[in-house]
């Protein structure tokens, strides 16, 4: 992965991430995260709530002895809440050695995207979720949003998000 980094613009997620993505569904929309950042997929289980944390931090979970935070992407993206069902899963991602669980509606597939499939981002300046989007990909019959997990899970963002979440509440 390091080798493919060199000389390639970081704005090109397809080359950067070896083109393989885990595609999951959230609120009817498909999202993709680089497969190299996915450590494992777990079935949903209730997290232990953390006091005074942003609303989208559901809490912490025991991952074989490590305590990892669980992020609710629905809240993160300001989607309407949903009750967990049998398809709800927690995708454990590893970003620079830090682990976090991401709650998704369902996990679809691992997909290999061709760089030709990538579409430019439309201009929607000022949109809060824009910063988490790395790119758009036209799959067979639908669009997949590629997410930037570094930005989505950076602790700085947890803090910024804290303020936003509180305003929203």
């Amino acid at each position: 992965m390091e080798a493919t980094h060199a000389g390639i613009s970081p704005a090109d997620p397809l080359t950067r991430y070896n083109s393989q993505f885990l595609v999951f569904r959230l609120g009817g929309q498909d999202y993709g995260i680089p497969i190299l950042q996915v450590q494992e997929i777990r079935e949903w289980s209730r997290a232990t709530g953390l006091p005074n944390s942003p609303a989208y931090i559901l809490g912490v979970l025991n991952l074989r002895g490590s305590i990892i935070p669980v992020v609710d992407l629905r809240q993160r993206f300001r989607l309407s809440p949903a009750e967990p069902d049998t398809f709800t899963a927690i995708v454990v991602v590893n970003v620079d050695g830090r682990l976090a669980g991401v709650v998704v509606d369902s996990v679809n597939d691992v997909v290999w995207f061709d760089p030709k499939q990538q579409r430019p981002l439309p201009d929607f300046e000022g949109h809060a979720n824009r910063q988490f989007i790395e790119g758009l990909v036209q799959a067979e019959d639908n669009m997949v949003i590629l997410l930037n997990m570094e930005r989505l899970l950076s602790p700085d963002d947890f803090n910024i998000g804290n303020g936003l979440a509180q305003q929203a509440v």
Partner: protein
Amino acid sequence: MPIDIRQFHQTFFEESTEGLAMMEQLLLQMEGAAGSRGMTSPDPENLNSIFRVVHSIKGGSSTFGFGWLADFSHLLETALDDLRAGRRQPDRETTDLLLRSVDALRNLLEGARTGAAIDKTRIEEIASALEVPSVTKAAEASTAEAPEHGWHVSFQPGPELFRSGNDPLRIIRELGALGTLQVSADVSRLPRWEAYDPETCYLGWQIKLSGRDQSRQAVKAAFEWVADISEITLAPMREAKRSEGDTPPASGDGDHTLVKARGPSIRVSTARVDSLMDIVGELVITQTMISETVAQFTPADLPRLLVGLTQLERNVRQLQESVISIRLLPIGFVYSRLPRLIRDLAQRLGKQVDLELSGEQTELDKTVIERISDPLLHMVRNCLDHGIETPAERRRAGKPETGHLRVHAHQKSGYVHVVVEDDGRGLSYEQIRQRAVQAGLLNADTRPTPEQMHELIFYPGFSTASEVSDISGRGVGLDVVRENIRSLGGSVEVSSTPGSGTRFTLRLPLTLAIMDGLSILIGDQTYLLPLTSIVESIHLTDDRLSRLPDGQEIFALREDYLGLIRLHELFHIPSRHTDVSQGIVVVVEVDGRRAGLYVDELLGQQQVVIKNIESHYQRVDGISAATILGDGTVALILDVAGLMRLSPRPVMAPDAPGCVPRRGSPRSTISDPRALH
């Protein structure tokens, strides 16, 4: 760590340079001795002194983050350890290498101090020479003493070996009865898979048989059945060694020197490992007993099973204690830096001081030891700088000219107390008050109590030094000390008598890994309170509660009034009850401050393993860590001191409201590098 450790750099460089000079001298002595008496073992005392020099350079450089220096001194230390253990010969070559290492260390030190260029190639060259121990030479020397040390056997059986009904394993086993074997298989004749015939022997073996008293006949006898179909050569070990040249080290110890140490290591006395082994032995016995009981279980066996489980519990506890004790180090490690620091400081400040160190043998967890080193140095410096007066002042005050500084460590109820005490002028309350007013921490007309003053000196940015010296008083000071100690789960207390001295007491947990806690319920979630912070738990009724004008609820507990913290309010979680009489109030105390925590229910006492939240998330106010409960779910451990600070209204000083107004969280002024991604 926010402490400006650069202030220690100078001391470190001075100490290291001095140490290197001494090391050089000792090495020269050693070389002289080796020259005149041939190859004799060096004076162990000298060797130990050299070892200590290198060790403290290593320790210092890793503390200060001089990676190169730390790596190099580690290699050198390993080489010296080999020398000490006799795995390396103290010949001219080694001494020369060590002397060149001294030069390399000087170069690295200079580089770390001034940023001067480092002669990388030369250092790498010396480093690699240090890494390769002179084992071959040692082995040669030992074979010279005992020439017939074994046999080198080459066994190349013919392809029809299996068809003649022979099993090479039997032969090798038979050889094994004669001595220690080192067998390597030669697979070079193995054909490709498709050409492989399972009944043909394609293998050959190189066997090193070491040990005494094996005659050529005895070795040959093992091959009696296969001699006619195999090619067997026998050579005495010595010749084989010479011809091979790449002899692996004769003992496991030699191996060790080739492996670079990865990660931190601990020296453990054999006695401790033995006791661990004993406990494991008992554990195995207990386990056997329990499985036997359960295998043919009848209700009549229940008492036996219970006995077994009790025994198991005891074994596990012993095992746990034993493992913790392995991580313990005497606090003397930290003390070692003090005398020099005191000497230099006293000279620079023109003060006279006696340093008394006691309780060196008190043991603490390795991590705690590493992390209290800087705070302790800081406090000692603080005492010398602010506490102890100049000889003239002391004379005027009717005290002996030489001040007394005492550092004492002892164990007390699951904690280690480290006391730093001086007989100086004590805290100047008036100065503290004025400084606090200046800093806007205090209203000009407030007269705080001594306890509140003690609290003030731990406030960020608070320093009473009337002129900022370069020794202490840079604005980073006691607040950082306290923050560090708190992050270890400890606390700092101060007491002072004007005119006769100040005493700081650090209270530190023995270990960071395991904690006794009380599990409590708030809403539907379990939390843990550290047992050491709990004073008592009480039932309150509404009529015992009063409210201060700012809305803080307080209640009377014997003579004192304590603030009430409703945890569910603080955490914004739904509680089962809101009526104070339905839940329970746990009175907690930390840093001499007390408060009542209102919780829904007490569940029970249990020992828990502490798990860090920050490794994958970030610091959470009011929570010190997490733990995993018996059912695999996570429970949060409450940070009592943090809760008191988090409480929206001051709970520390209900009798003098507004003494320390909260200006945002004091924590936020200290940037935590770990919070950054």
